[in-house]
């Protein structure tokens, strides 16, 4: 594989994490414009634990995810009375607060003769884990791919459990959910928290892959794309958002020769996809059709 192809595939895997986090939140019926913040918090936490405190890579990632989970829980409790447009605005505000404060925080240090550490808009340089461990781009691609596969398999297992079924009723028809005795709030809070952790995991891997992060990487467009991935891919199965990322990044890369015109083509194609598949390519209805074909259960 060429280096270019490996980089594109790695990016597809990395952005799949943020797409899956947007997916989980859309399932409980909310729209978050703030998943880029958790992607960024995951990336920054990893960098801080790994560079400043010399944590091992696994514990840096773990603590990054834990921080994202707790912050997302906190955010979901703060916004417990908000829904729809107001929830979207609150999450966007949260993400911007994170991005802008990262522009202000400066605490540069020198490590093994190299400048590193938090440095405002200039970013956090020299997160050198992949160099220290001689991991080539292909090797890192496999690491992200395996992590993503584990995540997707766990989501498929979750999909078959009552948790996901109930969460989908809460997202789709909260009145029905309540009349069946389902308490909506824990689902909402737990899903928003988990989505934060998943986004943070993606961000941590992103920081390792790039070796350099800056606040501008976690701007609003990343959040908008994370929603676009999921809306193109559909909410039916966890594989949907992945398909969305593949189409989005794959398409943008394959028409790179059109330079600035490619956004026009891309926007047009997304519109066409949504005309033919208004609920995304793997919509819940299509997921049910697949289920009907293959799992009859004798009913």
């Amino acid at each position: 594989m060429s280096l270019y192809l490996i980089t594109v595939l790695t990016n597809i895997c990395l952005f799949s994490f943020i797409a899956l986090s947007a997916y989980l939140i859309l399932i409980v019926g909310e729209v978050s414009f703030g998943q880029q913040a958790f992607f960024g918090i995951g990336a920054y936490s990893l960098a801080i634990f790994f560079v400043y405190f010399d944590f091992s890579i696994i514990s840096s990632i773990f603590f990054g995810m834990l921080i994202c989970f707790c912050l997302a829980l906190f955010l979901s409790l703060l916004t417990i009375k908000l829904s729809g447009l107001y929830f979207a605005m609150a999450t966007l505000a949260f993400a911007e607060v994170f991005r802008l404060s990262m522009n202000l925080v400066r605490f540069p240090i020198e490590k093994e003769g190299r400048a590193t550490g938090l440095n405002g808009p200039e970013g956090f340089e020299n997160i050198r884990w992949i160099f220290e461990n001689n991991i080539d781009p292909l090797g890192f691609f496999y690491i992200t791919l395996i992590t993503l596969t584990i995540l997707v398999i766990s989501l498929f297992i979750l999909e078959r459990s009552f948790i996901m079924k109930n969460a989908r009723i809460v997202g789709k028809d909260i009145i029905l959910a309540q009349s069946l005795g389902i308490r909506p709030r824990p689902y909402r809070v737990f899903f928003i928290g988990t989505a934060g952790a998943i986004s943070g995991l993606g961000g941590a891997l992103f920081a390792l892959a790039n070796t350099y992060i800056e606040p501008a990487m976690f701007g609003m467009m990343l959040g908008v794309h994370s929603l676009a991935y999921t809306i193109i891919g559909g909410l039916g199965l966890p594989i949907g958002p992945l398909l969305g990322v593949f189409i989005d990044i794959g398409l943008l890369e394959s028409i790179r020769f059109l330079s600035e015109y490619r956004m026009i083509i891309f926007g047009g194609l997304v519109a066409i996809i949504l005309i033919f598949y208004p609920e995304g390519i793997i919509s819940p209805r299509i997921a049910s059709r697949i289920k009907r074909l293959f799992f009859n259960k004798g009913l």
Binding site: K172, R183, P184, G236, P284
Partner: protein, 208 residues
Amino acid sequence: MLEFKSVGKSFGGINIFENLNFQLKKGEWVGLTGGNGTGKSTLINIATGFQLPDEGKVNLGNVSLLGLKPWQIARLGVKRNFQSVRLSESLILRDQFFVPDKKIFDNLEMIQASGIKGFLNRFPSECPLPILRKMEVLRALLHSPSILFLDEPSAGFSQEELHEFSQFLITYVPSSISLVIVEHRTELMQLVCTKSWGLFLNEPLRIM
């Protein structure tokens, strides 16, 4: 036993009811009639926690239902269906009971008798309306209620379907369940209910 004590409710200055009193005993099957705007659906909404009364008390046994959330009341066994069919267009019917599969298989005979078995693998858009209404009733029954409110379960049924449905209710709804059937037409409640209540504007509940 569900008890309403001098319950009052008004919307925008219009009194739907004031001083509404009744007791629904265990195993009682009651038909509730009344014209448009007399508060039939409001009564269900108050009993199931979706609306709060302006005054009065609502008790289930010794427990006050006021201030409890709808899901808490549902967990206490007070269940309902909805006048507008609440089924998801993206799920086939068998995925919309929201009970473990085992429960569906245990109650297969009841599902068969209701006449919806042939539709279990279809989407709501592929089923006629009476099937969807029966589906809603079945869903509520599978959630093992102790008190069940049915809001217009037979709307749109033909005469024949209505008789079948009443037979179905008599056979499969356990006699320990208290049932309240809200209807415009009185045929169904005449067939299954032992008691009927009438709601009239600005009048106390008439027990008939």
